[in-house]
Symmetry: C2
Subunit: 203 residues, 2 copies
DNA sequence: GGCGAATTAGAATATGGGTTCTAGAACACG
DNA sequence: CGTGTTCTAGAACCCATATTCTAATTCGCC
């Protein structure tokens, strides 16, 4: 009962993803999304209540998918190896998901959702944040015995800041990161995580 | 001959800097800048021909000032120490210039100047880019004897990507980075720069 | 085949923000 | 003190974009 839909949520989300990847969130205007689909602007609003919510869901879905893979690696059995592996995960994820990587690594959520998160996705956003925080805390405890602020900072530095800061350059240039990058990340991360133990032993 | 100016370029630039620091480039609308100065919107255009050029000059002046300090440290006499020192420079600069750091670390130039640089500042932008590239190449040669692509990547990773990726977190939170951060950066950077030599010796 | 819900289609509306325009004010200089 | 020039002041204009509204279309179902 009713007309067959021509533009579903998935294709709208896909077009938005591509536009953001190519030109950032500013490029994903309702008009541009509609034009890419060959749809009239009004049709977008049959699927999404507002541009803000469309962009918020896009951002969240990319972050959630990254988190799943990343946190799985970070929870790997060997605590000594899981950290470096999680850091290297950034590079492989970037190679496998170049479009999503541009969304995730080149923009902050504020560029998508200025101010507060809309109610409709607020809880989802909190969950994503909490999942990451929990994963880091769990790994820190596993690796160092306790999750002091200093230990947490060390882990965050190693498994997030270093790889993220490094890969942005290649994602920006739309080139897959060279294999050497994985080595550099690995070297830096091991040095930082092992340094804590040397420090403890010395103390 | 003529009326005494009430709003000069410096105060307009300052207001713009503050607005960008607080809310990103999007917040620096002509209206907001004028409101902060208690000026009418039209007055901005007596000093700057367009918003685009105002933002472009703001970005460039911050980058140029950072570059001067950074490249001076990177050119320090002791080649072994200059790299780690340059990496740590990011942290101290961030502590000393929190406002500018938010402009420099939280946004890319595309957020200020979408597309090509305006003619009026194009050459200045090129100069800033070239200065950084030259400094990195010179250091790479000094430290490793040659500036191969791999060596250059190693240096860029150590003295730019690692510190930049790390500090963003604290700049974003508007908190001065804790002293531990300097240690983490130092450890990671030394490990990566020294690893090249170990690799060479083995070969 | 006709009814009605779901949808397309795209014009109309509203708003925000950059830029320009006109009028008036202030100050240096003769 | 008048005069010209440089500026303030702020309204007016214009365009891009999000959102809404109305009409037309399609298709399952009776």
């Amino acid at each position: 009962m009713g007309r067959r839909p021509a533009f579903d949520r998935a294709s709208i989300a896909r077009a938005t993803l591509e536009l953001v990847s190519e030109g950032g969130p500013r490029a994903a205007t309702i008009g541009a999304i509609a034009a890419r689909l060959g749809a009239p602007t009004g049709s977008i609003y049959h699927r999404y209540p507002s541009r803000e919510l469309l962009l918020a869901e896009l951002w969240l879905s990319v972050v959630e998918r990254f988190n799943v893979g990343f946190l799985a690696v970070l929870a790997g059995a060997d605590a000594k190896e899981a950290g470096p592996a999680a850091a290297r995960f950034w590079a492989s994820w970037t190679r496998e998901h170049p479009i999503e990587a541009r969304v995730f690594l080149l923009h902050r959520h504020e560029d998508f959702v200025p101010g507060e998160w809309p109610d409709a996705v607020h809880e989802r956003a909190q969950r994503a944040l909490a999942a990451m925080a929990d994963g880091l805390r769990a790994y820190t405890r596993r690796r160092f015995g306790g999750a002091s602020a200093a230990n947490l900072r060390r882990v965050r530095f190693a498994v997030i800041d270093v790889p993220q800061g490094t890969l942005k350059r290649y994602v920006q240039a739309a080139k897959p990161p060279p294999a050497q990058i994985d080595e550099l990340i690995d070297t830096a991360v091991r040095a930082v995580l092992d340094a804590q133990e040397r420090g403890l032993r010395r103390a």
